[in-house]
Symmetry: C2
Subunit: 233 residues, 2 copies
């Protein structure tokens, strides 16, 4: 049943996308060994392309590889979460500088419109996944305005890694009757002012604010992870 070259399907990239989405959603438990045969059957491919996809995840730090023992889901320690939030600061602060200098008024207007829309949806939704998506959309959109693909790519990888933590964080924020929309609006106003250094500082303050809650959020996240009805997406 040799299936052979199917270039337009691009099995490895498809598998990679599926695995990364699963990893971002913590479908694999931290430290858990990944059984290649089982997983390949579940994804409808053979072990060869699966291993190729897993090796991409190794390079990005989602998965660990131990020689002779296979692939393991990498776990998120408290310190690693701290490091990832700091990396987020590094990238987003630099990106927002670039956005401040380069973004057109129309582009900033589009972001504000998006924030208005998100603000309305925030009021309605209780789905923590959706909360996280709306929040993430603002950050990725703004970072995209720096017009730097490298920064954007690095940020997406970091977001995938801390998505679960952020989901828990934003949910607990909402439970306290607050959202990040107002913070985002403040950052956007500084960007509008054209002061790149101030925009960077505003972004830093915002992310540090969230990072301070991360250590608490991760505990909630882990509790969910092992709960019978854990977060799905």
């Amino acid at each position: 049943m040799t299936q052979a070259a199917k270039p337009h399907d691009d099995t490895v990239s498809t598998l990679y996308g599926q695995l990364r989405a699963q990893a971002a959603a913590f479908a694999f438990k931290p430290g858990e060994r990944i059984n290649e045969s089982t997983l390949s059957r579940a994804l409808g491919a053979s072990r060869t392309p699966l291993r190729e996809a897993l090796n991409r995840l190794v390079a990005e730090g989602f998965v660990e590889f131990h020689a002779g023992r296979g692939f393991f889901c990498r776990d998120l320690s408290d310190t690693r979460i701290g490091h990832l939030y700091q990396a987020r600061i590094a990238i987003e602060c630099e990106a927002v500088r670039g956005a401040t200098l380069r973004a057109s008024a129309a582009q900033l207007h589009a972001i504000e419109a998006e924030l208005d829309e998100s603000g309305r949806e925030y009021a309605d939704t209780t789905d923590p996944i959706r909360l996280m998506e709306l929040d993430e959309r603002f950050h990725l959109h703004l970072t995209g305005l720096s017009r730097n693909d490298e920064l954007l790519g690095l940020l997406k990888t970091i977001y995938d890694k801390i998505r679960f933590v952020r989901t828990a964080d934003l949910r607990s924020l909402q439970a306290a009757g607050r959202t990040t929309t107002e913070n985002h609006r403040e950052v956007l106003n500084v960007v509008r002012s054209g002061d790149a250094a101030a925009a960077s500082d505003a972004m830093r303050a915002h992310i540090e604010d969230r990072a301070r809650h991360a250590s608490q959020a991760v505990r909630l996240a882990y509790a969910d992870l092992y709960a019978p009805q854990g977060l799905r997406a």
Copy 2:
């Protein structure tokens, strides 16, 4: 001739290391197709582990994969070099903040000793590869003092990507009778002062200074790349 599991050799990781070193040294010409059979023979392995290693490089952006057509060496455009230098600024500026806050006097003293040593070696050597190694050592060492593995890992990947450009840049700097040692010493002095924001600014100024020469350096680099006796490393 099934060679089977040899966990302590860890073929894929070995291949990955070799390939990454070759990619950093621009052993593959930009845009060039990578022939799997030939390369696997050259590296003494079969295609399966080679493809796994190549997939790691895809995830890190050293190599591109086109479905049905194989792996291609990714080329370094002028704009991508600019983006990578900006990513360098993002990471190193944040890291030097951390280093300023967290590094001990002894650790800073060790870096200074290293600078002294490099300074002496700079005077003797004309090997551009060695120049680049000495320069890189300072930056990686300082970034390491932030005690953030994520930042350090990201920086190493960026350095591997722009190594060729940096080699050309530092060589032309040396040809003009200058080195980066003095700039590094200035940055270190600001770190010593304990002012994190100032340290970040000093690092930014230093890297922007080099980035300004990068576009010129890349032209030199490409000339070398296609010269009969190109840079070897």
